[in-house]
Point group: C2
Chain length 335, copies 2
C-alpha cells in the first residue's frame, strides 16, 4: 500500500502563463484510512484550458484555488484501499481529484465509471465525461444545428473541437475546422471527415472564410476568442449562433485584450453569442454519453488522446494547450 | 397644389460624420399625378441613428442608398392629392418616404395611420411605429424580463431607451438608465420612474454599476456599444441577456473600434448577446401597438419628442443624435 501522496500545490498566482514556478511539488504522507473512507489512486489527470483561470486570485465560474492547496483538476482513478462499502477496491471513479497521485474520499462528489468492454480507459476523457458533454451540449443546446448549415469550429484538432466537428457532420452540417498546423488540418479532414480546414498560422482566416462560406457562417463553435472570433463575426450569416465554449487566446493575459471589432454584425445579422459552462449540464450527462457512445460504436465518431507520462510533468504539459502542441485530449498518465 | 418637391439627395459617402456636405438639396418639379397614384405631403421625418449606416457604400441590413438618390428615412405624411381610390385625400400614411417634402405613391409599402383621439400626431414616432416596436420586441422577445430582475438601459433618454426603461418598470424590473446629461438623468428618474440613473459623462459607469447592482445586471438593453457595453459586461449576473439594439458609439467610425474586453464574462456567467432588427417584427407590430397604447392610456408610459423645424435642417439635426443633444424621439417637422 502507498504511504506517500505526490501533489502539485499552487504556491503563487500567475499573471501570464501558469508554470512550474507557481507550484510546489510536495510528497505528503498518506494518513491511515479512517472508517467510511476510500483511497483512490489517480490513473489519468485531465488538463484543460480552463485550468489556467482556476489559478487566478479572482473567481471564474468556480472559486479561486487557495494558495497552498492542491491544484484543481478533473481526474480518473481506481479505488486502491477501502473502508467504505459503496466503493470496493477496484472501482473506477472520476472527480475533481486535483493534481495529485492519491485522494481520500468519503464517496461524495465523484462519478463511478463502468468500464465499457472494448473501450480503453482514456475514452473517459477523450470521448465521454466533461469533454464529450461540452461538445454535445455546447453545440446542440446552444446552437441548434440544422442539416445543410455551415458550422465553423476553432481549436478543431483539440479535445472538444474535434468532437464538435464530427457531431456537426453527423447532424448534417457542412463543417470547417480551424487549427494551427498542417498535420492537424490533415487529421480533421482526412480522418475525422471535416469538409474543410484552415491553418490559422499560415492562412488568412477572414479571406479563407469568405472563399469557403460565400453564404456565411451559420454556426460558430468558439474555443479561442481573439482574432479568429473577429474573423468569423465578419462572415456570419443571417441568424447565426455562436457558442462560446472557451477563449484560450485570452487566458494568459493579465488584462483581457480588446474584443471583436465586428460585434456590430450581431445586429445586422440578427445573430447571437452565448456562453455556457458544461457543469450546468451535469444532470443531463447521460443523454450525451448515450448519444456519443452510440455514434462511436457505429464508427461515426473518433477521438485521439495526447498522453504525457508522469505527474511530475503536469505544469509543462498544461502549456502544450497554449502552445497548440497537443492534438486531441491532453492527459497526464499518473499511474 | 404644390408643384415643387424639396429633396435631400445623397451626393457622397461619409467616412466619419454624415453632414450637409454629403448631400445636395434639390428642388424638383412634381410630375402631374398619374392614374392610380397619390401625392403625400410629408409632415414628420424620423431621424434615427441607423440612418448613418444606410449612407455607407456597403450594405447593412438594407442595401446602400445609391448616390444621387433621395436619402432614406421613415416619415409620416398626409395624402394631399389622389387618383387612387384606396388613399383618399386626408389619409395619414407612414412609410420609407425619405428626406423629401413630397412622395408619389401607388399605395404599396406604406402603413395607413388611424388617428387616435386625444393623441398628437407625433405619437406615431414617439410611442408607436418603429420606435415603440423596437423597445417592445427588443426588450421582451430578446431578453424575456422577469419581475425583480435588474435591467440596465443605455441612451436611456433617447426615443427607444426611454420606452424600454418604462416597459421594464411595468414588467416589474428594477431599472437603471445610462444617459449623458444631468437633465436627462433627472427626466428618466423623476418623470419616467427609472429607479436609478448614471451620467456616463461625469461618472464612472463601471464603478456606479458595481455599487448599484451588487448582484449583477440581469438584462442590458444596449443602444450604444463601446465602453459602456464593456462596463456592463464586467458586471453581468448569471444568465444575463444583452439585447443589442444599436451601437451608436461606432457609427461614425470608418473602421469599427475594438470590441469589449469583458466578452469572457459571457462564458463565466452563461450569458448571451443577441442582435435584432425591428423590421423582422413587422407582422407582429399590432401586438406591440396594442400593449403600448393600453399602457399609455393608463398613464404608465410617457414619451417626449424633440422636434427640429424645417426639412432644410435635416442633416444638422441628424447629428444631434451623435452629440447626445436630443431627449426623446428626434423628428423633423417638414410641413
Amino acid at each position: 500500500m502507498p504511504t506517500i501522496n505526490r501533489q502539485w500545490l499552487l504556491a503563487a498566482r500567475p499573471t501570464t502563463r501558469l508554470t512550474r514556478e507557481h507550484f510546489t511539488f510536495a510528497e505528503t504522507p498518506l494518513p491511515d484510512l479512517a472508517d467510511g473512507r476510500a483511497l483512490v489512486a489517480v490513473r489519468y489527470l485531465s488538463l484543460d484550458p480552463t485550468n489556467r483561470g482556476w489559478a487566478n486570485a479572482t473567481a471564474t465560474y468556480l472559486p479561486p484555488i487557495p494558495l497552498g492547496e492542491v491544484m484543481r483538476g478533473i481526474a480518473l482513478g481506481v479505488v486502491e484501499q477501502s473502508r467504505l462499502a459503496t466503493l470496493p477496491v477496484g472501482t473506477l471513479v472520476q472527480g475533481m481529484f486535483g493534481w495529485q497521485s492519491h485522494v481520500v474520499t468519503d464517496g461524495r462528489h465523484l462519478t463511478r465509471i463502468d468500464p465499457v468492454p472494448g473501450l480503453p480507459l482514456d475514452a473517459c476523457f477523450g470521448l465521454f465525461g466533461h469533454i464529450g458533454a461540452t461538445a454535445y451540449f455546447g453545440l446542440i443546446d446552444i446552437t441548434h444545428p440544422k442539416p445543410g448549415e455551415t458550422l465553423v469550429v476553432s481549436a478543431a484538432a483539440g479535445a472538444v473541437g474535434s468532437l464538435v466537428g464530427q457531431i456537426g457532420k453527423i447532424l448534417g452540417c457542412r463543417v470547417i475546422g480551424i487549427a494551427g498546423t498542417d498535420d492537424k488540418c490533415a487529421w480533421i479532414t482526412r480522418d475525422l471527415g471535416f469538409d474543410e480546414a484552415i491553418n490559422y498560422r499560415t492562412e488568412k482566416v477572414a479571406h479563407r472564410l469568405r472563399d469557403l462560406c460565400p453564404d456565411g457562417v451559420d454556426i460558430y463553435f468558439d474555443n479561442v476568442g481573439g482574432e479568429i472570433l473577429d474573423a468569423v463575426l465578419g462572415q456570419i450569416a443571417l441568424r447565426a449562433r455562436i457558442s462560446l465554449c472557451g477563449l484560450i487566446s485570452h487566458y494568459n493575459d493579465a488584462v483581457p485584450p480588446p474584443g471583436p471589432r465586428y460585434l456590430g454584425n450581431l445586429l445586422i445579422k440578427r445573430a447571437r453569442i452565448e456562453g455556457f459552462i458544461v457543469l450546468d449540464y451535469a444532470s443531463r450527462f447521460p443523454e450525451a454519453m448515450q448519444a456519443l457512445g452510440k455514434w462511436y460504436m457505429e464508427g461515426r465518431l473518433k477521438y485521439r488522446v495526447d498522453v504525457v507520462e508522469g505527474l511530475e510533468h503536469a505544469p509543462d504539459a498544461l502549456n502544450r494547450l497554449f502552445d497548440g502542441a497537443n492534438t486531441g485530449k491532453l492527459l497526464v498518465k499518473v499511474s
